[in-house]
């Protein structure tokens, strides 16, 4: 969420599930305010961040979409069933401020069009 206005393609995940590196729209109480986050891991995956570098299932992930390097650290954790692990692309903020984590598939309302 950038505080801006985005169009959401709601049919995007009607017949398919989100894949790694997709940017998805996650609803909160309704759909007036949505979180736009990038899927970095799927259910059953183990996510870890070491000094800003993302590892999924112990494999280093090359995240070309991340604008600014971070010094984040996150201990390994497994993604629950029917969930995806999401992180925003802007990681210039301290880790405790950034909203990220695993989101239930039920909360995904689509993908941003632009």
């Amino acid at each position: 969420m950038s505080g801006g206005f985005n169009f959401c393609f709601r049919l995007r995940y009607i017949l398919s599930k989100p894949e790694r590196h997709d940017v998805i729209a996650i609803r909160l109480a309704g759909d007036k305010v949505i979180l736009l986050k990038r899927v970095v891991a799927l259910e059953g995956d183990v996510v870890e961040i070491q000094n800003g570098t993302l590892f999924v299932n112990e494999k280093k992930i090359d995240e070309t979409y991340v604008r600014y390097p971070s010094d984040w650290n996150l201990s390994p954790r497994k993604v629950d069933k029917n969930h995806v692990y999401v992180i925003g692309d802007n990681r210039s903020v301290p880790i405790h401020i950034h909203q990220f984590g695993q989101a239930s598939i039920d909360r995904i309302i689509g993908a941003p069009l632009w």
Partner: protein, 166 residues
């Protein structure tokens, strides 16, 4: 002819009853919503606000909360009852880190499970600038319990819903 007349009167009364009920229900929901607008207004901060204005504004938050007031945030394993004065001091302290705060509430879903009690589900959107210049955005889904005391809807409990579980 007489039967038709009574039927029309009965339908008219039914419609009037429905309208009255819906007006009452809507106005209660509007009253609940208004309390959130009140809270947002008192927490928001304009650049250059002085300490006295800040203290006066925040003190008014106490008018719309119950004693005790409960904050529950399962994601942080945090749950606590707080007194109105304590809450006001906490808000004032948090606000002091910011030079500017904008607070909005969206997507209200209001239910009245019993008389004088309301359950409100909504999205809170906070944007602010720290005194250090850093911009902060925070979006949360909140589940709130409200109680009507002395004709005023007051916040009794707020639960911060864990949308993204780390």
């Amino acid at each position: 002819m007489v039967k038709v007349k009574y039927f029309i009167i009965a339908v008219g009364l039914l419609i009037a009853g429905i309208i009255t009920f819906s007006m009452f229900f809507q106005s209660e929901a509007a009253r609940v919503k208004k309390q959130f607008e009140f809270i947002a207004e008192k927490i928001e901060k304009a650049p250059g606000e002085n300490h006295i204005t800040a203290a006066k504004k925040v003190a008014r938050v106490k008018e719309v909360i119950t004693e005790p007031f409960r904050i529950h945030a399962p994601a942080y394993a945090f749950s606590r009852d707080t007194a109105p004065n304590e809450l006001a001091t906490f808000i004032l302290s948090k606000r002091s880190h910011y030079s500017k705060i904008s607070l909005k509430f969206y997507d209200f879903e209001i239910a009245f499970p019993e008389k004088n009690f309301a359950q409100v589900n909504l999205t809170e959107s906070m944007e602010g600038q720290l005194q250090t210049g850093e911009f902060i955005q925070d979006f949360n889904e909140l589940k709130c319990q409200m109680q009507k005391i002395g004709g005023t809807w007051r916040l009794k409990e707020i639960e911060v819903v864990e949308v993204l579980k780390r």
